[in-house]
Symmetry: C2
Subunit: 250 residues, 2 copies
């Protein structure tokens, strides 16, 4: 009921846990939550009452637990913060997944909206800018280990130049294709949403808008579903949804 309840760090973690459990098995039980968060069952009962009072979960004693629309929205917000931070640590700082995940789950509760957006954009920028990219991140790794990058980086620069030349002579730019035709790992800029009605609405809601950069993270055997990353969100799109998105390969 409450419009924008302020959630404690603890309640955000409960919400996040419930979200993940529900993603796997429709409804959560207190035991699942206590196992995941490593707290006593009685602590879960208390948290559930709090969340129910705030209108974020459907809960009755001894009953299964589901998220209300408001709860789902709040949970998705926490998850997005968590994943964006984790991605930054893994993709930019080259930290191991487990360590990045743990750190993300602590920082997610205290990072400001604005700085989070910057971080997401930065991670995207590093991947997209011809001066950035995986070779550059590798250069960062080298810098971490040896502290000296001058010669190494000069070599990098020539590599970038070659890349750029290849791109200029090779492909004509502005080849608009359909999202469903992208392969795993490819990145593209959203040009147009051709989907209409509910699908259109859902896509826009999820952050898929013209200009956004979209990356294909995983592709199921028949292209359904396709897992993508947009603006820090990790999304799973049905093929029918992917078909409604025109993109330009980057």
């Amino acid at each position: 009921m409450t419009a924008n309840a302020v959630l404690s760090e603890s309640l955000e973690d409960y919400l996040e846990a419930i979200f993940h459990i529900i993603a796997e098995k429709q409804a959560a039980r207190a035991k699942d939550i206590s196992r995941q968060l490593k707290v006593a069952g009685s602590s879960v009962t208390g948290a559930l009452r709090s969340l129910a009072k705030k209108g974020l979960i459907n809960y009755a004693p001894y009953d299964l637990i589901t998220l209300t629309p408001a709860g789902r929205k709040a949970a998705k917000d926490v998850v997005r913060r968590h994943e964006a931070l984790r991605d930054f640590f893994v993709n930019v700082l080259a930290v191991g997944y487990a360590e990045a995940d743990e750190a993300a789950c602590r920082i997610e509760h205290v990072i400001s909206k604005n700085i989070l957006e910057r971080l997401i954009q930065f991670a995207e920028f590093v991947e997209i800018c011809p001066r950035g990219g995986s070779k550059w991140i590798a250069g960062f790794g080298y810098h971490c280990d040896h502290g000296d990058t001058r010669e190494n980086c000069e070599k990098c620069i020539s590599l970038i130049l070659e890349d750029l030349k290849r791109k200029k002579t090779g492909g004509k730019s502005m080849s608009i294709i359909n999202l469903k035709d992208l392969k795993q790992g490819q990145r593209a800029r959203v040009e147009k949403i051709t989907a209409r009605g509910d699908t259109n609405k859902r896509l826009v809601e999820m952050g898929v808008t013209p200009g956004a950069v979209i990356e294909v993270e995983r592709l199921a055997p028949l292209g359904d579903p396709v897992e993508v990353k947009v603006k820090g969100y990790h999304l799973s799109l049905r093929k029918s949804e992917a078909e409604g998105i025109d993109v330009e390969l980057i």
Copy 2:
């Protein structure tokens, strides 16, 4: 007495506040702390008792407050985390100082040692690598606002090339100079510590070791003291200390 007391987020903030107050006026009073942290005086009394019990401050009722050696060490550690995070937000993510400072003071309590070091190295790498630098950060700003960097970045690349050529033809590399001869804003790699005895020890303790990158942040009129940044630490060096450090300009 306790070797490595685990401090709550709250106690870390108290310690940090005491450190900053002492830096300005020798000893802190409860009132200074309550003003800075915006808490009631009685809350400060409680915190001071905790810190004294942990052997981090010298404190007796109604008396002035100073840091013990252990307390100073713990406080410096908090301050370093705070400043490193703030620097990253300001210098890499181009966030405003005030916002960066506030965010840093929340995240400082939950960031892991390892990720902090990565962040510090990353900020340094971005400044040092010829593919990074201020123009690149400006490119990031452009990316944030317009979302499109292709052409802009191609222009950047040619600029880098020019920079590199100029450096190659112009300066002979390996010009070892003394830290005291650096100007504000210049960066250098530490080559050798010529200082001996206590000064040597102090410098090494502060992270000034061969290979470290050192940046001159501010220079007092007669070069004493000189404020520098090394490995995420912001340090104030006396001229006599600066003279004991040989560096190579980057």
